[in-house]
Amino acid sequence: RLEAFHEAFDAVNENFQTIFATLSDGDGYLQLDKSEDDDISNASLNLIAHPKGKPVQRLHSMSGGEKSLTALSFIFALQRYRPSPFYAFDEVDMFLDGANVQRLATMIKQQAEQAQFIVVSLRRPMIEAAARTIGVTQARGAYTQVLGIQL
């Protein structure tokens, strides 16, 4: 059982390093903080990163966008360990500047060759990278309408 955990941790860690490097043009890794006796039931998992050639930082002191890229890389690393046939993301690009949204959109576009991605977003680089857009509106006092699918 301890072995199952370490196998999962190593796989997710490897994914995290690759994905973080792609998204942030920096380095990052997962740090397992456990006591001497190898007791993982009390262990802590920290996200260690140095985005874009800056010195290593704890999550707490990073900028809003850097925190978001780090957390997103972790989520994607988990997904790559246990892949699914479809993914649904709700405004995960909220904290990112235009260039980072573009980087994220490019990664999703490439991953979308093997799985279905349904991504809620208000950001233009994300909308432009997608194969199509589903428009959602709600007129005053009416129901939600799902409108034209543009390609």
Partner: protein, 163 residues
């Protein structure tokens, strides 16, 4: 395998049956604040039994039924159906109906290909398709912030659950 179609009836901000066809690959959903985008993801979670009512921003399941219910019977109900296209080009569907009586009692029923089933049976079949309740294939508004503000132990538990 991909989601081919979503059909929502009186779910949250949706009225009588709304069909949303979906294609494989990369689709963006966009629109103004409060229009119903996140509700579409809640519908997916609802039908597949992947979240608690709180995970769908409802205090109790009955809150998920559209507030404009007035079908004369005095009871209210909502149904969401998710149709998958399988690798062999056949369709496979999951549906969930929630009925709320006038006294406020409620009952939820799951269906696979229009035949009733339990939530565990449904989850069993979803695992075959690599869809897991403890998984992160659905990332909701606020999940990124939650991961950031988690403490180290909670984050490690995520790996425990996946292993």
């Amino acid at each position: 395998v991909h989601v081919k179609r979503l059909e929502l009836s009186r779910f949250k901000s949706f009225g009588q049956t709304t069909k949303i066809p979906l294609l494989p690959g990369f689709t963006v959903v966009s629109g103004p604040n409060g229009s119903g985008k996140s509700n579409i993801l809640d519908a997916l979670l609802f039908a597949l039994g992947l979240a608690s009512s709180r995970g769908m921003r409802a205090e109790r399941l009955p809150d998920l039924v559209n507030h404009n219910q007035s079908n004369g019977k005095g009871s209210a109900e909502t149904t969401v159906k998710v149709t998958f296209a399988l690798d062999d080009e056949t369709e496979w569907s999951v549906a969930r109906r929630l009925r709320v009586t006038q006294e406020g009692k409620y009952a939820s029923t799951f269906y696979i290909n229009d035949e009733t089933c339990t939530q565990s049976q449904l989850h069993e079949q979803l695992r075959q398709l690599r869809i897991y309740p403890e998984g992160y294939n659905v990332v909701l508004q606020g999940d990124v912030t939650r991961i950031i503000s988690m403490n180290g132990r909670e984050r490690r538990e995520i790996i425990d659950e996946l292993a």
